[in-house]
């Protein structure tokens, strides 16, 4: 495993607004690393600092052991893809892609050959002489990608690259980018607020919130083992159930129980995060982990259904259940419910972890 981009303690303020606080992570060589977070979480600012478009207040950025922090933008040889494409509007597709080579004074033949190669790669050969305003959003973003790749960048930085596209094109481009990355293997950093995109494309995900890193891990670690309430709530859908801790379990209502509170003190208040697909129906009536709930509403989504369930104490959860397991359940029925794989957090846990390492220690 060779070291790609190493980010250490990046900090950035805009006026009095602290946009990025102590962000550190490593993006492995040849892999896709996603920076995932809601808008305003500082993820784009981190990317712009790596590109050299913003200067960090302090912190270090290095690539393959070589410090980049104070290098001028144009000397870093990074590729950058913007959400709104930022294509040169007065240049044709061919000129856009060749721009990075032309400013480096490469020969006309070399530029032509490289641009042809990239036009082929992004499947835009017939559009070479068009102008950006004559292309669709998806085509523009592929031109932007080709332009970024033309000078053979050491790193590819993607800032919400599919954010301005409609859902179908987004899906298509995502798959296409995945293939492209497998083919080229260029170290990539992807900024996105779309958790599905991050989980699908990235080898490693850095979850950011309010300018700080919340959790770093593989998609499966982030999804199945969130270490903070924020990650549990932001990555994937989750029900939040309020209760208190008894013998390492969360109790709520009269005798409803959720497991997984071994790390919290007896009697403390607790919040259990349960994914909709971990809410199971029809379990054993005798089991202490199975308890009744009223079906308030069933929404058929085709191959699964969403059920709105109300417990006797008034709390509501959403269950997502494959239709073949659902049987004849309708509004108003009382069903047995079993809540599995809950992630339990103390409700007074700070929304922002002062140091992600502490959070690891608390739950690990």
């Amino acid at each position: 495993m060779s070291v790609g981009i190493v980010i250490e303690n990046l900090n950035k303020t805009f006026g009095t607004f602290q946009a990025v606080t102590d962000v550190s992570f490593t993006a492995e060589d040849g892999k896709i690393t996603a920076l995932l977070g809601p808008s305003g979480s500082g993820k784009s600012t981190v990317l712009r600092m790596i590109a050299g478009l913003e200067r960090p207040d302090y912190g270090r950025i290095s690539l393959a052991g070589e410090e980049q922090t104070n290098k001028p933008v144009q000397e870093r040889r990074f590729g950058f893809v913007f959400q709104h494409y930022a294509l040169f509007r007065h240049m044709s597709v061919r000129q856009n892609i060749g721009f990075g080579l032309a400013v480096r004074k490469e020969s006309k033949e070399a530029i032509r050959a490289r641009v042809d190669e990239l036009l082929d790669l992004v499947q835009l050969v017939p559009f070479a002489e068009r102008y950006p305003d004559q292309l669709s959003g998806g085509q523009r973003q592929r031109v932007a990608l080709a332009r970024a790749l033309a000078p053979r960048p050491r790193v590819l930085l993607l800032d919400e690259p599919f954010g301005a596209l409609d859902a179908r094109v987004r899906q298509e481009l995502r798959r296409w980018l995945d293939d492209l990355h497998r083919e080229l293997g260029v170290t990539s950093l992807l900024v996105t607020h779309d958790q599905e995109e991050a989980l699908e494309l990235a080898n490693e995900v850095v979850v950011m919130h309010l300018g700080r890193v919340e959790q770093i891990g593989t998609p499966s670690e982030i999804y199945n083992h969130p270490t903070t309430p924020f990650v549990a709530g932001f990555v994937g859908a989750a029900n939040v159930i309020q209760g208190h801790v008894v013998n390492g379990e969360v109790r709520f209502g009269d005798h409803q129980v959720v497991r997984g509170a071994e790390h919290l003190d007896d009697g403390a208040a607790a919040q259990a995060y349960v994914r909709p697909h971990d809410v199971r129906l029809g379990a054993d009536r005798e089991s202490p982990l199975s308890f009744p709930a009223t079906v308030e509403r069933v929404s058929d989504l085709g191959w699964t259904s969403k059920l709105r369930l109300r417990f006797p104490d008034g709390q509501v959860v959403i269950a997502q259940i494959p239709n073949e397991e659902l049987g004849e359940i309708g509004d108003g029925d009382v069903v047995q419910v079993d809540l599995r794989n809950a992630k339990v957090f103390s409700p007074d846990a700070p929304e922002i972890a002062p140091d992600p390492e502490d959070q690891f220690a608390a739950t690990g």
Partner: protein, 285 residues
């Protein structure tokens, strides 16, 4: 199903009448304030035949006035193009303490009477002015000479360039410039290859307006030049003198020529722009 009429936003009668009045008002404005004076000048200048044109342009003072106007306008255009673009870039792209104040001050020459601009120049460079000793000791005359005429003309014309370029820069945004930098362009390459092509029409309009104004400027130039016949008399100052000396015909010929140059300037740029757009569309199709 019967065809239902499309709903209108206002009762047709009222809206129709209001629209008609607005169109009529616009036509009257253009007719009375723009076309009529032009026709008037044309009529008085050429009413007695084309001979007056030859007579006017054979006069050495008229020729000198046009040369001087040309020199002043040329220097003004060159300086305002460079300086105006730089100021617009600084105002739009850089945020610094006081940038809003500077942005407001930039418009000042448009708001202040040119006569006052001329007066300020006299106060600064004239006898007893702050800068007079510096230039006087080097034997350079500013007031009652070409330098002060160029100076006040630049001062008055530069806001035209800034005010045309700044909003275009704002609208174009920084995305393309950032993209150019990341892909390896230096800041000069970025400006020449990305920023400049994006602002070229705004800049060209600004320069055209600036040139038109430089050709027509009179108030400030009158004060600082002293309007010395055959030395510091521009074409507009000649028109003024012609009127005073009751030589309306030759004055009108000069005025008509100035107006024609300005109109040709603006029309040419519009035509050039359209042609460029058409070429681009054809190339892409």
């Amino acid at each position: 199903m019967s065809a239902t009429p499309v709903a209108r936003s206002a009762p047709p009668g009222v809206e129709h009448r209001a629209r008609r009045w607005m169109v009529a008002g616009t036509l009257v404005y253009v007719g009375v304030l723009v076309v009529a004076p032009l026709v008037g000048i044309f009529w008085t200048a050429l009413g007695h035949g084309l001979g007056i044109v030859g007579q006017t342009f054979s006069r050495p003072d008229v020729r000198h006035a046009f040369v001087l106007t040309g020199v002043v306008a040329l220097i003004t255009v060159v300086v305002t193009t460079f300086l105006g673009t730089i100021v617009a870039l600084v105002l739009v792209r850089f945020r610094f303490i006081g940038s809003r104040v500077v942005s407001a001050i930039v418009d000042l020459p448009l708001a202040v009477s040119p006569v006052i601009v001329g007066l300020m120049a006299v106060l600064l460079f004239g006898r007893g002015g702050w800068f007079e000793p510096f230039f006087a000791s080097r034997g350079i005359q500013i007031i009652f000479a070409v330098p002060s005429m160029v100076l006040v003309t630049i001062f008055i014309c530069i806001p035209f360039v800034i005010r045309e370029v700044a909003p275009v820069l704002e609208e174009v945004g920084t995305g393309e410039e950032e993209a150019a930098r990341i892909v390896g362009a230096s800041s000069l390459q970025t400006f020449l290859r990305v920023t400049l092509p994006n602002i070229r029409w705004g800049l060209l309009y600004g320069v055209a307006l600036s040139a038109a104004r430089a050709l027509g400027e009179i108030g400030a130039v009158l004060i600082v030049s002293g309007a010395i016949q055959g030395r510091t008399e521009t074409a507009t100052l000649y028109v003024l003198r012609a009127l005073e000396e009751r030589q309306e015909a030759s004055g009108n010929v000069v005025a008509l020529t100035l107006a024609a140059i300005s109109i040709v300037l603006l029309v040419a740029i519009e035509a050039f722009k359209r042609r460029q757009e058409r070429i681009r569309e054809e190339r892409a199709a």
